[in-house]
């Protein structure tokens, strides 16, 4: 579904990604772990071209999205993204946040978009908040709304950029719960996270990144239970 070939990204002289290669299959849940500054977030943000790669190729459902002639907006409709800082639109209600893109981008009729939005609010357990403004919500609620907003576009893949890192500890669970349900429903997901327990439980594949490269990848039991790479061992010994 997503193929990444020799992806490089540098900011000025700073090389963040130094040749990343990965293939992500439909329905797979890939969890990317690694120390801060290892390039995990940059890698994720390259997948929907929020960062423009310096070189390399990314293909999504057969289309090369790194091609300059490719209309990235069409691809982004099919790739949902959830951010560390939620990034809900503060001037719009919860319902408007969720309905905006389906109505404006997909030209979906208002009633249909509203129905989808209400269903999604039900799914994330926040149906009663539909008329609230983001500033009236807790961090965990905001993130669940952000997930619903991304899902409203009916994406084929969901990208999560440290979705629980900005949350108070007691709110982490409710967000992970929603993500887990999503994974169980068969959604293709790429998740950058520091939640090792969640990674082990929900991930089909764990990717360990360090120094702008994928150092090791495998099933959770392989990577967590029997890491091969010395840096993986070193990292896991610090976080587990």
């Amino acid at each position: 579904m997503i193929t990444v070939k020799d992806l490089h990204k540098s900011f000025g002289k700073l090389n963040i990604l130094k040749g990343v290669n990965i293939e992500i299959a439909k329905g797979e849940v890939v969890v990317v772990i690694g120390p801060s500054g290892s390039g995990k977030s940059t890698f994720l943000r390259c997948l929907n071209m929020l960062e423009t790669p310096t070189s390399g190729e990314i293909a999504f459902e057969g289309d090369s999205i790194t091609d300059k002639k490719h209309n990235i907006n069409l691809t982004r409709e099919k790739m949902g993204m959830v951010f560390q800082q939620f990034n809900l639109f503060p001037h719009k209600t919860v319902l408007q946040n969720i309905m905006l893109a389906p109505v404006k981008v997909k030209k979906m009729p208002q009633p249909e978009a509203e129905k989808i939005a209400l269903d999604l609010l039900q799914t994330v357990g926040l149906a009663d908040k539909k008329d609230a403004y983001p500033s009236q919500l807790s961090g965990g609620q905001k993130q669940r709304i952000a997930i619903a907003r991304a899902l409203a576009m009916q994406p084929h893949v969901m990208l999560f950029d440290e979705p629980t890192s900005a949350l108070d500890p007691e709110m982490v669970g409710e967000v992970l719960e929603v993500m887990k349900k999503l994974a169980e429903g068969g959604m293709t997901m790429v998740i950058v996270t520091h939640e090792m327990g969640f990674a082990r439980e929900v991930g089909d594949r764990i990717v360990f990144m360090d120094d702008g490269q994928i150092m090791e990848e495998g099933t959770p039991s392989q990577v967590f239970g029997n890491p091969k790479n010395s840096r993986t061992k070193d990292f896991l010994s610090k976080v587990l």
Partner: protein, 219 residues
């Protein structure tokens, strides 16, 4: 004649003055707003040429007296065969002058919106234009509303310079009444009061509008 009698006696003068002042200020506000928005976009362009043009526009209009600008447009452009009526010259001057100040205000507001907002919008498949229209601008305008209000009030007051080229606005009419009555203070006090009522009303209206917009702020 006390001041009220002066006002009543020459009410048709002041009435006409109010009309022209309001007309020019309204044109200045509306055209300045739209033009200012366009100029702020130029100033934030990815390409150097529009950015350069935007900067020249802003710096020139901010850096020279509005009276000089007015005279250039009204008397100077004649040598290029462009003959404008006093009203036209006044409206153009007020519009372009306020556009320069508003452009800087808008730019500050737009750049003040968190980068994550645009990223979230783009990640949902919205184009740059949609993102600007539905996400960035509403938040930017809200945050700089007080500064926009200041500029509107400035336009009302500064519109008085058009009396120099013969537009029969409030300032002009005060001088006209002075020529008839030989009273210099009273007509000026009268128009000062009228200007104040206009600006004070506007500032109250903007305050109301601001409060309505901030209903989504419960921080």
């Amino acid at each position: 004649m006390n001041i009220f009698e002066t006002f009543w006696e020459y009410r048709s003068y002041f009435g006409q003055g109010i009309q022209y002042t309001l007309l020019l200020a309204a044109i200045g506000v509306v055209c300045g707003f739209i033009l200012g928005l366009l100029v702020s976009m130029l100033r934030m362009s990815r390409f150097w040429l529009p950015r350069f043009l935007g900067t020249v526009w802003v710096e020139f209009l901010r850096g020279t007296p509005m009276l000089v600008q007015l005279f250039i447009i009204h008397y100077g452009l004649v040598s290029f065969g462009i003959k404008l009526t006093a009203i036209e010259s006044g409206a153009i001057t007020l519009s372009i002058n306020s556009s320069a100040y508003l452009a800087e205000t808008f730019r500050a507001g737009i750049q003040g919106v968190d980068r994550g907002q645009a990223e979230a919008a783009r990640s949902l498949g919205m184009s740059k234009g949609m993102t600007m229209r539905y996400i960035i601008l509403p938040q930017a305008v809200k945050s700089v509303l007080p500064a926009i209000g200041n500029e509107f009030i400035t336009i009302i007051k500064e519109s008085s310079i058009v009396s120099f080229i013969g537009v029969t606005d409030l300032m002009y009419q005060a001088q006209a009444v002075t020529t008839i009555t030989y009273e210099s203070l009273k007509p000026l006090l009268i128009i000062a009061a009228i200007y104040f009522v206009m600006t004070f009303t506007l500032s109250k209206l903007l305050g109301l509008f601001e409060r309505r917009l901030s209903t989504d702020d419960h921080r």
